[in-house]
C-alpha cells in the first residue's frame, strides 16, 4: 500500500524524501501522534463492530471493548444471519446493480466525453455544461415522477429501475471526469488514426487505452454511492427478493433488534466488501473525487 498508493501524477518533492532519513524530531512525532489519534477515531467504531460480531451476547455487554477470548468467541451471529437473513440474495442484488451501473456509466460517459473533446462545435460546450450542471442535480427530488414512470413501464420493484436511475445519477460526474482525461490525449495520435482511414468509432477505440486511469476513477467514484444508497432501494425495489445489502441490513436491524451477535455480523458483512475494494482503489477514488468536482 506504500509506493503505488500515492497520487501518481504528483511527484514526491525531493525535500520530503531527504527528510525520511533524519532522526525523529519532535514535530514529526506530533504529526504522527495526531494522525494516529484521528485514525483510531475513524476506524475504532468499525473495529468495535467487527470484534463484537465474533463474541457471545453476554461478552458483548460485559466487555464491549475486549477482544474475543477462547471462552467468548462465537460465530453464532454469522450462522443466524445466513439462516434467518436473506444475505446471499442481498449480495447478489447489490453486485448486479453496482456492476451493471458501473459498466453502463463507463461506456456511456466514455463515448460522450470523447465526442465532447473531439468535435469542437458550439453544441459541444453547451452539452458539456449540461453534464456539469448534472453533478449538482439532486436526483432524489424527482422521485415521485420516477415512481410513476417505473409503474407505467412495469419496472417498479425491479433491479433494472435501480440501475437506470443510478446510471443517470452517475453519468454527469463521469462525463465531466472523462473529459479531463480525454483532453490529455495527443491530437497527433487521433489524426494519424484518421489518416490511416480509421472510422470515428475506430479512432475512439484506439485512444481508449490512454484514458484507462480515468475509467478506474469513474468506477471507483460510481461504486460507493450506489452500493451504500438507501433511498432508491427503499422506494424503487423494496421487496424481499430485490433488496440490496444496504436495505437488507437496515431491515434486519429492525427485525432482530435484540440479537446483537447477528446484528453485528450482518453489519460486518455489509461493510467489508466495500471497505476492501476502497482500500485497493483508494488512489483512483481520491484522484477522481478531486478532479471530478473541481469544475
Amino acid at each position: 500500500m506504500s509506493a503505488p498508493d500515492r497520487i501518481s501524477d504528483l511527484a514526491i518533492p525531493a525535500a520530503r524524501r531527504r527528510q525520511d532519513r533524519e532522526p525523529w524530531p519532535v514535530e514529526r512525532i506530533i504529526v504522527h501522534a495526531l494522525l494516529i489519534l484521528f485514525v483510531l477515531l475513524a476506524i475504532g467504531p468499525v473495529l468495535i463492530v467487527i470484534i463484537n460480531s465474533l463474541k457471545t451476547t453476554p461478552a458483548i455487554f460485559g466487555g464491549p471493548f475486549d477482544l474475543p477470548t477462547a471462552k467468548t468467541f462465537s460465530l453464532e451471529g454469522y450462522k443466524r444471519v445466513f439462516t434467518r437473513g436473506n444475505f446471499i440474495v442481498n449480495y447478489l442484488n447489490s453486485l448486479i446493480v453496482t456492476v451493471t451501473t458501473i459498466v453502463l456509466t463507463m461506456v456511456l460517459s466514455t463515448l460522450a466525453a470523447f465526442a465532447l473533446v473531439e468535435y469542437r462545435v458550439r453544441l459541444a460546450s453547451l452539452l458539456g455544461g449540461l453534464f456539469v450542471l448534472g453533478i449538482m442535480l439532486p436526483i432524489r427530488l424527482g422521485t415521485i415522477p420516477l415512481i410513476q414512470m417505473m409503474l407505467a413501464w412495469r419496472l417498479m420493484d425491479t433491479l433494472a429501475a435501480l440501475i437506470l436511475v443510478y446510471t443517470a445519477m452517475s453519468v454527469p460526474i463521469a462525463v465531466t471526469l472523462m473529459v479531463t482525461y480525454f483532453r490529455t490525449v495527443p491530437t497527433d495520435l487521433k489524426e494519424a488514426a484518421r489518416m490511416d482511414g480509421a472510422s470515428e468509432l475506430r479512432t475512439f477505440w484506439i485512444v481508449l487505452p490512454l484514458v484507462r486511469p480515468g475509467l478506474a476513477a469513474v468506477a471507483a467514484l460510481t461504486m460507493l454511492p450506489v452500493w451504500n444508497d438507501l433511498w432508491f432501494p427503499l422506494i424503487l425495489a423494496p421487496s424481499r427478493q430485490n433488496q440490496t445489502v444496504t436495505l437488507g441490513v437496515q431491515q434486519f436491524v429492525g427485525q432482530f433488534m435484540n440479537d446483537y451477535p447477528a446484528l453485528l455480523a450482518a453489519l460486518t458483512l455489509g461493510a467489508v466488501p466495500l471497505v476492501l475494494l476502497f482500500t485497493l482503489f483508494s488512489r483512483q477514488f481520491i484522484s477522481g473525487l478531486s478532479k471530478g468536482y473541481s469544475k
Partner: protein, 295 residues
Amino acid sequence: MISPAAAYRNLLLFVLPALAVYLVFAVLPLATSIVMSFFQTSGASGRTFVGLANYERLFTHPTISARFWNALLNNIQYFAIHLIVEVPVGLLLAALLTSGKLARSEGIYRTLLFIPATLSVVIVGFVWRLIINPLWGLVGFPLLGTESTALTTISLMSVWQYFGIPMVFLYSALLAVPNELVEAAKIDGASGWTTFWKIKFPLIAPQFGLIAILTYIWTFNGFDLVFALNGSAPGPNYSTDILGTYFYRTFFGSSGQLADLDLGAAVATVIFLTVLLVTAAYFWLIQRRLKSYSV
C-alpha cells in the same frame, strides 16, 4: 479535417446514449415534479390545475407548515454543524498529511482516514447508537432520546462519516501547490507554520467555497442516516426531522398522515429551489471572484 456537419452528426451520435439516460431519468423527473406541484390529482377524474394551492397548503396549513418549517430549520442546523466541524478537521488532517514529515505512511493514513466515508449509513447509525448507548456506560445520558441534543448528535455522527471528503479536497489542493514556492519560503527562513498560512492556505482557499457548496447540496438532500436511526417520523417529537425525511413522509405517507403526491411534488420543488438559488448565487458571486484572483 472533419466537416462541421459531420462533426455535429458524430457529436450527437456519441453523446446521445449518455444524454438520453441523463435526461429521461434525472432531468425529466425533476421537471415533471415542478409541473405536478401545480396540479391536484383527484381519484379517477384525473388532474386539475390548482395554481399555487399546494404551496399555499405547504406554507400555511397549521400542521403541514409547522412540520415543514421545523424540518427546514433542522436542516439548516444539520448543514451548519457539518460545515463548522468538517472543514477545520479536514484542513488539519490535510495539512498533517502534506506536512512532509510522513514519507511512506502518508498513503496508509489517507486510506484509513477515509474508511468511514465508505460505510453505509446503516452501519454508521448502528455503531454510534451502540457506543453512546447508556447501557455501555460511555455516556450516561440519552443523547439521541433528548430533544435538545438529538439533532446535534446525529449531525456529528454524519460528520464522523464524511470528514474524509473535505480532507481529500484540501489534500489534493495542497499537493498541487508548486513546490518552488514552498522551497523559496523555506530558504527565506519561514517556519512550517508561516509557510502554511502565508503560502499554501491562500492557494487552496477556493476549495473552501467548493466544499461549502457541496456540503450544502448533500446535507439538503440528506435522508439516509436520519431514516436509518429514527425512521420516517424522526423523533423525539420531530426534533431530528430534516427536509429529506419530511419529503419522504409527504409522498409515502406515515402513521397519521396520508400519502399526497401533489404536495410531495411541491415539497420537492421548494427543496430544489432552495438548493438551486444558493448554488447559483455561489457560482455567480463567489466562484467568479475567486477565479479572477487566481492566476
